[in-house]
Subunit: 257 residues, 2 copies
Amino acid sequence: MSIIAIINQKGGVGKTTTAVNLSAAIAQTGIPTLLIDLDPQANASSVLGLHNPVGPGLYEALTGSAPLPSLIQPTRIPNLSALPARLDLAGAEVEVARLDNHLFQLRNTLAPLRQSNSFHYIFLDCPPSLGILMSNALAAADQLLVPVQCEYYALEGLGLLLQVASQIRDSGANPSLCLCGLLMTMYDSRTNLNTAVVRDVRSHFANAVFQVAIPRTVRFGEAPSHGLTILEYDPHGTGSLAYRTLAAEFLQRQNSK
Amino acid sequence: MSIIAIINQKGGVGKTTTAVNLSAAIAQTGIPTLLIDLDPQANASSVLGLHNPVGPGLYEALTGSAPLPSLIQPTRIPNLSALPARLDLAGAEVEVARLDNHLFQLRNTLAPLRQSNSFHYIFLDCPPSLGILMSNALAAADQLLVPVQCEYYALEGLGLLLQVASQIRDSGANPSLCLCGLLMTMYDSRTNLNTAVVRDVRSHFANAVFQVAIPRTVRFGEAPSHGLTILEYDPHGTGSLAYRTLAAEFLQRQNSK
Ligand SMILES: Nc1ncnc2c1ncn2[C@@H]1O[C@H](COP(=O)(O)OP(=O)(O)OP(=O)(O)O)[C@@H](O)[C@H]1O
Ligand SMILES: Nc1ncnc2c1ncn2[C@@H]1O[C@H](COP(=O)(O)OP(=O)(O)OP(=O)(O)O)[C@@H](O)[C@H]1O
Ligand SMILES: [Mg+2]
Ligand SMILES: [Mg+2]
């Protein structure tokens, strides 16, 4: 069992698109997978048809008033379960910040899942922020998968994220935290900028960068407006092929660890 | 004097690109303008050449240990000053959350600027978050300018943002808060998705939507990698034309209030 945080504080780089489509592609190979939506925007929850769940949610689990396993729901995709987000999750940041042990709230909340071992992989879709939910995700995860848009601003923030992650690891808060990989997203090979950014990232981070780059295609924008993953919306397109290839590369990296 | 928050909790929709290029375009018409970077990612600060300022910053101003006016710096662009962000601003959220009057910290910090009246317009570049910095921006601003990417996820969050803003206004926290306008960004007229989203937003929000839509062009991605605004990098291109047109439309709306 491994917990993978899909994380980057830069906004709009493809975190949710990666969390939803990678977890769906892995589930389709028969591996039991869970997607936890840590973003109060709840974009991942909405694509999986789990808008605004009633009753307790992650907020209650994080603040200790509801057990986490009871919040997990099946999705229409076989082998993929989800823990949806709600807006009140934004309020959890303030409340968790006031607790003494605030860095480990999510890690402790997820502990029952580690013991039950019912999921092979658990993916966390993180919000674009440098706040409490992000540091909690860094303290709770075993691995980080970092989507990197092929643009300059996204590059600027990458060093910072990896530095914060190293601090969490080296401080002893999460000693086994490791980098699963950097995923280049929204890659348009016709532009010099994207090609230059990919070259820069590959030369700097070498094998830490997934071989596959996710191409920019309008299909990714269309799929959520139909409430579908790219695999369901455009199964034979370049977008679906890229995420199936990513799933294969991800599983290969896991097995060779 | 008016304080305008460039705000949208959805990540990567063009907040920083709008904050930098609109404030620069207005400054170029001779109007004294200030850009305050409220995002710990500090993307706006970096484009304006104000990386990692030493000494006190907005964090110290927000927590009361440094007067804000002393932190304002000139930029290379005539009539445009800036208050840069630093990474430690992310820590301010936790610290401000613990204060009793936390919603009004930014409003109180900006009060000296209201009295001095040295800037005609003050723009706040907001981080992609539903946290404390965002609610502080809503309580401090006179107007909201909301960049809306022509995609589904961006549309999903729009209703929520406007609802939160109405709550801040109607609760009496900021009774005069009003909507400056919705700005369609990254518009590619060749895609059905973008055309459909623009049509949806215009039919729903009518005159609240700026007439000009910012076109998607790779020049916007290239400019920051050269440390330049679009106006400096590609002065005669469609991107610069769009932001100059926006500046004219913005000023027209201000004058007809
Ligand atoms: N490869 C791609 N090609 C084209 N569009 C894409 C691609 N991947 C994602 N998108 C679109 O770009 C937008 C941003 O993607 P997404 O919401 O997944 O990013 P995010 O990092 O989760 O954003 P946030 O920081 O707000 O959580 C969405 O509208 C999505 O549909
Ligand atoms: N009209 C446009 N056409 C093409 N690319 C654009 C356009 N506007 C912005 N971009 C690029 O898209 C990316 C996101 O834009 P930007 O950083 O301004 O958004 P943001 O809302 O400030 O993001 P964040 O939520 O992380 O603060 C940047 O790499 C930027 O260069
Ligand atoms: Mg997301
Ligand atoms: Mg920004």
